[in-house]
Symmetry: C2
Subunit: 293 residues, 2 copies
């Protein structure tokens, strides 16, 4: 059981990843009790970064000694690039990767998606690989059907290690936990953390855990009424944060915490929060105690 914040990627003035800040942020998240950290997920703006920038981040994670605690997002529309990033993750000591389906072409078949993942596993050709499927209908549009997940697991065994369900759909997430007890099933939101772990799931990988990390990690250490109370607090914080553009809000809170407004930078097409959104975020942060990790 573990909470994995989906780490933001701090950017420098030239909108290049500030890998030192990213690694320091990851260490802080681990220090407050998180079981690990997701690097280069949706919150980490992976899709907006060049392959070269993503490779620099993977290398930095390795050099910082964070690889054993990390899951790295390595999915790209180009199979070649997904292979390259996945191999690099393994090379730096991070066998756990999170892979989106190729998301440009729509209306593709499960057979076509199976081809993509089969070729990925075969080309990476490393039994240590622990591939986590990234199910995120609202962003990727392309989805992992139960049938496809089952086929991949049947074909590649423990190399198909888990799934992050960012559907936000409780029934779907709990359905995955029930149907695939051999997979590490992560909810994409702290709101479902308690139910997921109580039914045998692996935990959550969540954008908002950049700021709820300590609370979410504590939930896993407790039980009974205290656990339920923590879950309710997490759900309330999550709901408040979801009313804002979440990635920009995470970066704004980080910027405030670090005392450097520039760290609120995001890559286009995302935008930083407006003044009004910042006002709402300040109130939310105060109400839910989100500024100190």
């Amino acid at each position: 059981m573990a909470v994995f914040p989906a780490a933001i990627t701090p950017l420098d003035r030239d909108l290049e990843p500030a890998t030192d800040l990213l690694c320091a942020h990851a260490r802080e998240l681990l220090a407050v009790g998180c079981g690990g950290v997701l690097v280069l997920g949706t919150t980490g703006e992976a899709a907006s970064l060049s392959l070269a920038a993503r490779m620099r981040i993977v290398e930095a994670v390795g050099e910082a000694g964070l690889a054993p605690r990390a899951i790295i997002g390595t999915g790209a529309c180009s199979l070649d690039e997904t292979v390259r990033l996945t191999r690099l993750a393994l090379e730096v000591g991070c066998p756990r990767v999170l892979v989106l389906p190729p998301y440009y072409y729509k209306g593709v078949s499960d057979d076509g998606l199976f081809d993509y993942f089969a070729m990925l596993v075969e080309r990476v050709d490393d039994p240590d690989l622990r591939l986590h499927l990234y199910h995120f209908p609202a962003m990727a549009v392309i989805c992992f059907s139960y049938a496809l997940i089952g086929r991949l697991r049947a074909a590649f065994g423990e190399v198909i290690a888990g799934i992050k369900d960012s559907s936000g759909d409780r029934d779907h997430t709990l359905g995955l936990v029930e149907r695939f007890p051999e997979l590490a099933v992560y909810a994409g939101t702290e709101r479902l953390l308690l139910e997921v772990v109580e039914r045998g799931g692996a935990g959550c990988i969540s954008a908002t855990a950049n700021v709820t990390a300590a609370l979410a990690a504590r939930l896993l250490e407790t039980s009974g009424a205290e656990r339920v109370e923590l879950s309710d607090r997490l759900a309330a914080a999550r709901a408040a944060l979801e009313a804002l553009p979440v990635i920009a809000a995470m970066k704004q809170l980080y910027a405030w915490r670090m005392g450097d407004e520039g760290l609120a930078r995001v890559l286009p097409p995302l935008r930083p929060l407006s003044a009004e959104e910042q006002r709402i975020l300040r109130a939310t942060a105060a109400e839910h105690a989100l500024l100190a990790l």
Copy 2:
């Protein structure tokens, strides 16, 4: 007025682009009367190719002397990569590029999309750039609103040179022609070619023009009843081809024409046509005389 086939990207056994075959195919399309050719569009499987492979194709187009007749698809979710491909297109002598909106993040604002394109124009920093917006709701999901198109044109003048409308929505395409007379408006289908050019639009950029090239080019040379008849023939061929997975069908027809089944290869998540689909395609090709260019 011109017809631009959206060229397929032939692949070798290792699924690497066969740039010599691509350039030869482009030359053939020009030889039968097309005004130009789109390289690295959706039909060219650009999103499934690595940045490195896309760069090799841009260089090959330049070396083959095709750059003045080409539009090159340079859009990527990463602004850095779009800048790099666009600069390279200009370097090889191809100022006309076709750019998708960044398509991973959904629910983004027109302001965020404006940022992306403004930064692209500013970073490329070349007054020769002729940027064509790629509107393809069914694939990219992210769309160009009329307001965004107008803002971009107002901000960057003739650098915002055109738009390809792959919505397949007649009213939308003709609406663009009417609202933006200063832009080169291309329909994404031969079905709308006649109406678009008769109202002052620029022509079409179309997947199926890989096989209807001669017919579509001839439409622009004719008038009156002959033109209408050609338009009807094109619409019928298009409708028949759209009943199949179009990209795989274009590659299958190319493979048959070249006498090399291997050239039907596609990149995952696309799949080659099934035996039954091939049977239907053979009948369609015979009925509409699509095998000889």
